[in-house]
Point group: C2
């Protein structure tokens, strides 16, 4: 739940006058997302989402994100599209914040993802990876393997407040990840934050992807690993191999995972768990008193990390052979 910056009707009306969206009729702050302030805006032309970009988003990155959404939408990935102003720009300033108007995407994020949702997200992720191939802009992943040690150093002195011996556990894992992280896998545009609240469905049918504000260049299979963690564990923290199989098979049908990617997946999943564990841990240790946003629990990702430490190959993720293909052939397709 998040509206950090409120906006008056007068200033919103003035802001919208630069867009071809008609007359302002109503707007309401949306209790979704934790990074930015979002409003659902109704005008005489329809419904739009207004986003005011808050502290965590670098202004210099916004052209990348907005151009990427437009590119992906042009290439068949259903995602919100920035509405252009009369002068052709997509980014404006409102209430002292960078701001954009994007079109409204129907659908609901699944509070309890099922197997069909996992298959949907696997397919959509692969299509996004393919659609991103010829996107010309680049953005490095500041939260990939080289970004984890600074986060760990911030959290290390007080990590024991969450679990005894957590600092030692994380130090050893980080050493392992840094020395084994693969450098030779396929790279491209990744979403990097494709959690259930960023994927909309109507019934079991995926209706779109949202929130590209962590998108960047990185290993494509690392994005798959993030999704395994975000979609395939149950509320009791057990790994659901049926969901993983559905997600991976659906991905593989659209963009076959190379043999090297499959071999690396358990390590990438450990890394993906480490990344969310560390940002959650830093947030959890630094909640200001009276904070409006409740921090997410880092423990969930400690358990996920431990699970992947015990995984040796794709079989533990439910894949002994790809559906509808001979395992050997598909596995080595590029």
């Amino acid at each position: 739940m998040a509206v950090y910056t409120d906006v008056s009707a007068e200033e919103l009306g003035q802001f919208l006058a630069a867009y071809d969206v008609g007359e302002l009729l109503s707007y309401k702050g949306i209790a979704e997302g934790v990074e930015n302030s979002n409003f659902l805006v109704h005008t005489s032309r329809g419904y739009f989402i207004l986003t005011l970009y808050e502290k965590r988003v670098a202004v210099s990155d916004l052209p990348f994100f907005l151009s990427l959404m437009a590119h992906l939408a042009d290439h068949g990935v259903t995602c919100p599209q920035p509405v252009k102003r009369h002068d052709g720009g997509a980014l404006g300033v409102l209430a002292g914040r960078p701001a954009a108007v994007i079109n409204f995407l129907e659908g609901m994020w699944p509070r309890r993802p099922g197997v069909a949702h996992c298959a949907g997200v696997g397919q959509a992720l692969a299509r996004m990876h393919v659609a991103g191939r010829d996107f010309p802009m680049r953005r490095a992943n500041t939260l990939s393997v080289t970004g984890w040690r600074p986060l760990f150093e911030m959290a290390r002195p007080r990590a024991g407040e969450l679990q005894p011996q957590l600092a030692a556990f994380l130090a050893a894992e980080l050493d392992h990840l840094e020395s084994h992280w693969p450098g030779d896998l396929a790279t491209g545009i990744i979403h990097a934050d494709l959690f259930p609240d960023n994927v909309f469905f109507i019934g079991d049918k995926l209706s779109g992807l949202i929130d590209f504000y962590f998108a960047c260049h990185d290993l494509l299979a690392y994005d798959v690993a993030i999704c395994l963690n975000a979609w395939c564990f149950e509320p009791d923290h057990s790994f659901n191999v049926t969901k993983a199989r559905a997600l991976l098979n659906a991905y593989h049908r659209e963009r076959p995972l190379a043999a090297a990617e499959q071999r690396a997946l358990p390590l990438l999943a450990r890394g993906a768990a480490m990344r969310f564990l560390l940002t959650r841990l830093v947030d959890w240790l630094n909640v200001p008193p009276g904070a409006l946003v409740k921090p997410k629990d880092p423990n969930e990702y400690i358990r996920k990390l431990r699970f992947h430490q015990g995984v040796s190959n794709m079989s533990d993720y439910g894949i002994d052979g790809w559906e509808g293909a001979s395992a050997g052939v598909a596995a080595d397709a590029g």
Copy 2:
């Protein structure tokens, strides 16, 4: 900002199947209101507001509120109307909470109310008072003069944490209010919480009133006093006599204030300030650690109370004679 209870698409879809609202397409938690959880719901039939009633609202009061909204809408007051289920009922249960679906009202609440907004709210308040005359249900005001002492006793031991000597100041004021509170003024249905965020406008034109969850039977002029406090003070806490004049004149044109109501208004305004001061003070002293909702500042209402203590008659509220009427005649109209 408030979504206390989240809802899954599956359970919302099942809940909505009892209403004639079509297929669920999307829903988003709204970051408005602090008492209940609200969602903006889009279906194939249009947009609706779904409210889950949380702790502060008594289930036994809900039929009163929902019937009142329907009654007022039938009598020309633009306000949300409960959508009836196939079985005729308006109140259901969702995620373990009492829940209702109401129609969507266009408009925006004024973040910086101007004189025209104050005139609009004065007129709408009077029309609501007139429209409520033949509403058959009753609900006592638990937050009127007899309800203040229990709140004061809750806050008294720690009131000094807000301001030194606050407890003594409140005790003396409460004695005065209890001994001078009028018993002979016109009563009827009052909104009792008509703050700017509960009044929608499109431009300067009022488009509707919302949030009737404090509505009750009480002195009609007390509702006017609540609005004086809510609408006619500037952010720097100064009283804006031009706004007060606009609000009172607009009210008086629709429902003339009797001479006794005019004489009582400064006292009623002190009482209205006391009521919000006390609930804010109790909330402020009892914020749980890590609370999601930031308490409103009680100091604002201490200043308002002190202002009204210095008021002797309607002239201090900008009324030396009613616009478009001879003061003597209008003042004694009932």
